[in-house]
Symmetry: C2
Subunit: 226 residues, 2 copies
DNA sequence: AATTGTGAATTCCTTCACAGCC
DNA sequence: GGCTGTGAAGGAATTCACAATT
């Protein structure tokens, strides 16, 4: 494994590849070439090979990649072999939806706490058993529950103060849904999921003279983020 | 206004600038320099100037930009001066949260329809008055309600078929939350909001030898997304 | 004096194209 | 023959640095 700096874009694509491989595996395929992957999912085969080659030689020349093996490698690279425990701050529509969402568990993510400052919400329990805790206890519960990722799902005006609370608790990975640019200290990673940015890009496309960019692939977070 | 092709990244940033300007305006500032904007929000001043200069000369040398004026320009550029009407497909946790979300309206986005195929959900009404309609009627309602943006908030296995429905109805701008890469025809814009990609990038960061990339700015989108 | 708008320089990312291997 | 891994080429995006402007 090389010590070269890996770009965020490469990391995001690994995540996409993993999803594609899961799908192919579910269909019963056991082996795949970068070309076949690229064709099926509108990717570039050289890019797939290059992305993977940063981390090792996972393929066999002439044959391609063994799907199960490659899935295991990417899972390891992305740190998905050990579970991640998420604390969601903000028990509004979005926060509650996140805490209820069942699409995380297959990838070893689990929501273990939901936090709010509203007394009328604190103490309530979601269908899946997650209870709403007082944000004042975030630090305590984060430690008890070994929360390593925090999601900020509060209105923009509350986001800065929530960020401070999260940082004080020592959580270093943050997913921010509030529509503003939060800045963390070095050593802390903040990923922004900004729905307004995405919607406004769609609006730009619709408003465009004839059409801003008629390509349908690539992402937010890739951009982005997406 | 130039006819050069504008990159998606530039468009995403315009959206961010708009949010920053709104915040500064709310504080009472009337004028701002690219340097001041950059300092406050961890951006690059040359990039701000370049992004804006694609669309016109909005600043005054020696003085900077008038905030209200610039907000109006960006609003116009992004097509936010006329309202956008969103149809959300999938009345699960996420879809319902989106339809209830009140952060869209300030930017001229309004959710006018929520769709599902589950008979037990059809006919129900959200607190804000949005009713759940049968996805079978999507095309009809999309036309009646002048839906111009569709959001896909269904499980991955249902996403392709929902996409077909949306395309048949003639909607050309789509926000996809399902964790798979959808491909649309030319002339249709699909933006992906992939929470698993974002979470997995955080996981990679946490797993990293010492830390993958200790910069806290940029997006998913932005890409990525935001 | 301050700040924009922009060509030039730089850095980063993607794609090509092929040597090397199975 | 088919496919990977990768150096080299090409293309894009960012940042620098300064002439132009108020």
């Amino acid at each position: 494994m090389k010590v070269e700096k890996i770009s965020e874009l490469t990391v995001n694509r690994l995540s996409v590849y993993l999803r594609c491989l899961n799908e192919m595996r579910a269909r019963g395929d056991e082996t795949v070439s970068s070309q076949a992957l690229a064709d099926r999912y509108n990717l570039n085969s050289a890019q797939i090979r290059k992305d993977l080659a940063y981390f090792g030689e996972f393929g066999v020349r002439g044959l391609g990649y063994n799907i199960d093996e490659l899935r295991a490698h990417i899972t390891k690279i992305l740190g998905l072999d050990s579970p991640h425990r998420i604390g969601v701050v903000g028990a509004g529509n979005l926060g509650t939806a996140l805490a209820n969402y069942d699409g995380f568990s297959p990838q070893n993510f689990v929501v273990v706490g939901l936090f709010d400052s509203d007394p009328s919400k604190i103490g309530k329990r979601l269908p899946n058993g997650v209870a709403v805790s007082d944000i004042a206890n975030f630090s305590l519960i984060a430690e008890q529950q070994k929360i390593d990722i925090a999601a900020i799902a509060v209105p923009a005006r509350a986001a800065e103060s929530v960020l401070d609370t999260i940082l004080e608790a020592g959580v270093q990975a943050i997913l921010n849904f509030a529509p503003l640019r939060l800045k963390g200290p070095p050593g802390v990673k903040i990923k922004h999921v900004d729905l307004l940015v995405s919607l406004e890009a769609l609006s730009y496309f619709l408003a465009g003279p004839e059409s801003a960019a008629p390509d349908a692939v690539l992402a937010s977070e890739m951009d982005e983020a997406f």
